[in-house]
Amino acid sequence: MADSDSDYIASSGDEAPKSKSNKTGKRGKRAGREKPRERWEEIQRAWDLGLEDDNIESTISELLEAGKKRRLLKDETPLQRGIIRHLVLILDLSVAMAEKDLRPTRYLLSLRYACDFVREFFEQNPISQMAVVGMRDGIAIRISDMGGNPQTHVDAIQKLRLDDPDGSPSLQNALEMARGALFHTPSHGTREVVIIYGALWSADPGDIHTTIRSLVADKIRVAVVGLAAQVSICKELVRITNAGDTSSYTVALNEVHFREKLLEATTPPVTRTQKMSANGLLMMGFPSRIVERTASLCACHSQMNKGGYLCSRCGTKVCQLPCECPACGLTLILSTHLARSYHHLFPLKNWLEVSWTEARRSTHCFSCQSAFPPPPAAALKDTPDAERQPAKTGSSTSISSRYKCPDCGMHFCVDCDVFCHEILYNCPGCQSLGDEKPARTTRGKKRARELSEGGAGAPPPPPPPAPPEPEPMVID
């Protein structure tokens, strides 16, 4: 390979535009939505990626950076998301899961990813609830009941590791059980089913289409991740329950893709119509934790303990959150649970690539203090070279390894870019510079700020919350 370098340099210019169109940046994704490309068209070949470049190392690091960025360039417009979700995770525990095409086996891998899914789900949807159902021997098995504690689900899934997958799956039985679990859930939340399906068949006792119709009637959406090949009934199921959209049915190509597709379902779904779920305003209490000298009984489990939370309204002691106050019925929740989902409300803007001409302003990443590569001598003058750069930004990596927050204008490295958008959800620049620079103006935030700024005098201070009901308890 090293010998043939010189031959290819000349032609690399011709190939550049072609390779650019192959990259799936932001634009590529949008285009993909209009005209779906087949999976095999998306395979990237080494020769498409301009590896003929004389400097292989830089190309590789660029590719790595591009990979990081690709995950970042997602939609940043704040959408209405039904954040109180109710979800049933259905696991295939049939003999089809014993296959070893996904290592170590489909079964073990699915269980592991199911645990990841549970954790990620509650990370993203803190006050949601979920249940886990399994399909084995032609029947549906209840693995864990509808609940809001990730650990109970994870424990229940972990216990399955000791069993072996066996028998046939029954899609209908599992869906009926899921429907039963979701039937009583309140209307302001979403109702969803996520299925990991390894088999290519389903042993059903009746007509599955009736079940699908009743799912639609109950406003339950279904997403399926297949492990083997596309199955017609699954596609049908997803299409009908998602108002004709089949994007939530995918077949995993490999382990990484499987995980990716499964965890996609943890992001709160877009609410399709206003009518789909009723929007309520809930009254919630944020109780404080207390530590007592002597143990006392808690109202929720009638157990003696020395610490707990006191209901903000009536002062009843409960030992676990979130729960509903057993005395006055107020929903008690840790404010930290709510706050966990706020990054969906105020998504961080995508950061922009920085050209060499502008790159001169900074030598270090603003947040992590790591050094940037210095601008090359050629870029110091405004040469045509510098003008060519903006064309390159389409490929989503920044030529100068710098990324700029559009609001505060600070430069960051790609690691911080990924970190801030995926974990921190803050822009260190905007937060650190306080009022000196304009704060970021996402739609919601702008409004919130206008309100709070104007709010000094304009709206009258809200009336204090009504005094708690004297005695809400009636034993019937």
């Binding site: 690091s61 305003l281 002062g315 009843t316 947040s367 919130a448 034993i475």
Partner: protein
């Protein structure tokens, strides 16, 4: 002749990971002014520097960073490229000082000089009426720095899996498995304006398993308490600010890996109140939009959520303080029998429950 002997091969090596300490120093001049008689800022700074030295002397690979959370900005005091360049020029004469460990000396110089610059750049008029500190910014900087130093390894297993652990070409093996912690030396009060961003920082710290320790010299903030609680950090309100050094050396010295051997300082009551989005007020009962979970201290005007623009159904609330007609249905149906039991239990326990 170890061929027949298995023992030598299985000696467990107990090693402590090196650790990174990021100190966030609240430099709000007002608050320090009021503390002046007990603990001047200069003294506090020298105590903190000594604390940093002690941390560095724990292990060769330990590292530190200092971030100032000022009234309107947050900046790195160390490492600080500008200060490093400046001190490098002026430090030739200091070179002769063989009585101090070089690393200690250079950190001290950099921190001192960037602190000087920060304070001198603060115009008195710009401070007018501000009594806050950019804690969210400082925490964000700290976390981004920690993420960088402790490598993206940790990122990939807590995040969505960035596609394979080791990346070639990035030789950061020397700090790959560091533990990190943040110590906030806080002197000023409320942060309700920065509620969302402080909370975001807390969750980021939680995901990265970075404990946030709070050394509270003055003032009181609900959210820093929550920060230390949800990241398993230490919260300590100093009784005697002048003994800062002793507090630092005895309570905040342990790094995350040593911490699980120690009994943490007694946990106090934690205030879990939240700040409302509309008036930045700290509330203990709030109204929450079911679409986006924004908190309001009263139903928003026109029953439209100001964050997500949704028309809200206030009727569910009925009168204030009524039961939200949700979840309840199910519970009543299923747990009717139990409810009676629960209620009576609640009844009996209520009198005995002390009110905080």
């Amino acid at each position: 002749m170890d061929k027949v002997d298995a023992s030598a091969h299985y000696q467990g090596v107990t090693e402590d990971k090196p650790s990174l300490l990021v100190v966030v120093l609240d430099t709000n001049p007002f608050a320090w002014q009021s503390l002046h008689s007990e603990l001047p800022l200069q003294t506090a700074l020298s105590h903190i520097l000594l604390f940093l030295n002690a941390h560095l002397s724990f292990s060769h690979a330990n590292r530190v960073a200092v971030i100032a959370s000022h009234t309107k900005s947050a900046t790195f005091l160390y490492p600080n490229s500008a200060a490093a360049a400046e001190t490098a020029e002026t430090s030739v004469d200091l070179y002769r000082d063989a009585n101090k460990y070089r690393l200690f000396a250079s950190i001290e110089r950099q921190v001192q000089s960037s602190m000087q610059r920060l304070l001198s750049s603060t115009a008195p008029e710009s401070l007018a009426g501000t009594n806050e500190t950019t804690m969210a910014g400082a925490l964000s900087l700290a976390l981004a720095y920690i993420n960088r130093v402790c490598n993206a390894d940790n990122l990939s297993d807590s995040g969505e899996g960035s596609g394979g652990g080791a990346r070639p070409g990035e030789a950061r093996a020397d700090t790959a498995s560091m533990t990190a912690r943040i110590l906030v030396v806080s002197v000023s009060g409320d942060l309700a304006n920065q509620y969302v961003s402080v909370m975001n920082s807390i969750f980021a710290a939680q995901r990265q398993r970075v404990p946030i320790d709070i050394c509270k010299i003055a003032g009181d903030t609900v959210f820093l308490q929550q920060a230390s609680d949800s990241t398993n950090g230490i919260y300590m309100q100093l009784q005697h600010p002048s003994a800062l050094l002793q507090y630092l050396l005895s309570c905040f010295m342990s790094d995350p890996s040593t911490r699980h051997h120690l009994i943490p300082p007694s946990q106090i009551n934690v205030d879990f109140r939240a700040a409302c989005f509309c008036h930045k007020r700290v509330v203990d009962i709030g109204f929450v939009c079911s679409i986006c979970l924004s908190i309001f201290c009263s139903p928003p005007p026109g029953a439209i959520c100001t964050t997500c623009n949704t028309k809200l159904d206030v009727s569910a609330l009925g009168n204030y303080g009524g039961k939200p007609a949700v979840v309840l249905m199910k519970k009543k149906k299923i747990k009717k029998a139990k409810k009676v039991l629960n209620d009576s239990a609640a009844d009996s326990s209520t009198p005995g429950t002390p009110v905080a």
